[in-house]
């Protein structure tokens, strides 16, 4: 395991990016951080800026205007290596907005996605399970 990967897995800092979501996924992500689920046990913290983050966590329905910003963030601002986590139905298949004029493509057609956490919204348990799988995958044990 490389040094950068080891450092990334010790305490992955997460940047939470909402691309036009209804805020339900965002509320569930907030639940993960609060003491009941306490995702900081795995060393995870929300970062204030993408430039400090190792994980890009995307929620929302990927509309035309926000995807320009997401691409900009992913291609130019994220320190690599970076893993991308799609949370919620909208960022995977756009959920009920699949035929919307403003949501032409799902997130993984714009940027590579490492983990998909389905649900509308996903429960905090599902988010934690997805994150644990992500860490396992990166370590090569899964």
């Amino acid at each position: 395991m490389s040094v950068t990967l080891k450092a990334l897995l010790k305490s992955p800092w997460v940047f939470h990016l909402a691309t036009g979501s209804c805020n339900n996924c965002d509320i569930e992500i907030l639940d993960c951080l609060t003491p009941r689920f306490d995702i900081e046990r795995f060393g995870m913290k929300l970062a204030g800026s993408i430039r400090h983050a190792d994980v890009l966590l995307v929620t929302g329905s990927c509309n035309r205007k926000s995807m320009v910003r997401v691409k900009n963030i992913y291609e130019e601002q994220v320190p690599k290596p970076c893993v991308v986590v799609a949370v919620g139905e909208c960022s995977m298949s756009r959920g009920m907005f699949v035929h919307s004029y403003n949501c032409p493509r799902p997130l993984d057609k714009y940027i590579p996605v490492d983990v998909y956490i389905p649900g509308c919204p996903p429960k905090p348990e599902a988010i934690i399970a997805g994150v644990v799988k992500l860490i396992g995958k990166l370590k090569g044990t899964l």
């Binding site: 509309n63 035309r64 298949s93 756009r94 699949v98 004029y101 403003n102 032409p104 493509r105 799902p106």
Partner: protein, 157 residues
């Protein structure tokens, strides 16, 4: 000023311009008005009756395009909706933005989503749609066709 006197004043003042007067409930009145008289009627309701302008809502109906301008008079708990019906071939109605500042952005939005022209609007730029969106394509029209060849409309399962 009571509800009845206000409505009677409105009917008398715009008697030739009002096409339909629908007294739906004690809280709600729909007034269909000719598009040429819209600015005068809205100015009267907004300035003289002291109503609050909430929002305008546009819809592409089967036979026409229509806009509803929603006003409320809080002292008498009354919602007045001014309805204008516009021709589909050349939808155009005078702008309220010079009288009511709050109508500026909603008219810009209706203009780009439904393609209704607002002559007299101070700044009819694009408000919400993306930059790559083609001119002359209105997403909330009934005859809207997908223009983006790269769009993926299945869920991939």
């Amino acid at each position: 000023m009571t509800r009845d006197s206000v409505l009677k004043d409105l009917r008398d003042k715009f008697c030739e311009d009002i096409l339909d007067f629908f007294d739906k409930s004690p809280k709600r009145v729909y007034i269909e008005i000719k598009p040429v008289a819209l600015v005068a009627a809205a100015t009267y309701i907004f300035r003289d009756l002291g109503a609050r302008f909430h929002i305008a809502s546009g819809i592409d109906a089967r036979t026409h395009l229509e806009i509803l301008y929603h006003f409320s008079i809080e002292t008498m708990n009354l919602l007045i909706s001014l309805r204008v019906k516009l021709d589909k071939s050349n939808p155009s109605v005078d702008s309220l933005a010079n009288v009511i500042k709050g109508a500026n952005w909603i008219e810009r939005e209706i203009n780009e989503l439904l393609g209704i022209d607002f002559p007299g609007h101070p700044d009819l730029r694009r408000l919400l749609l993306a930059d790559e969106w083609p001119e002359g394509v209105y997403p909330l029209r009934r005859d809207y066709q997908e223009w983006d060849k790269q769009a993926v409309r299945d869920r991939g399962v």
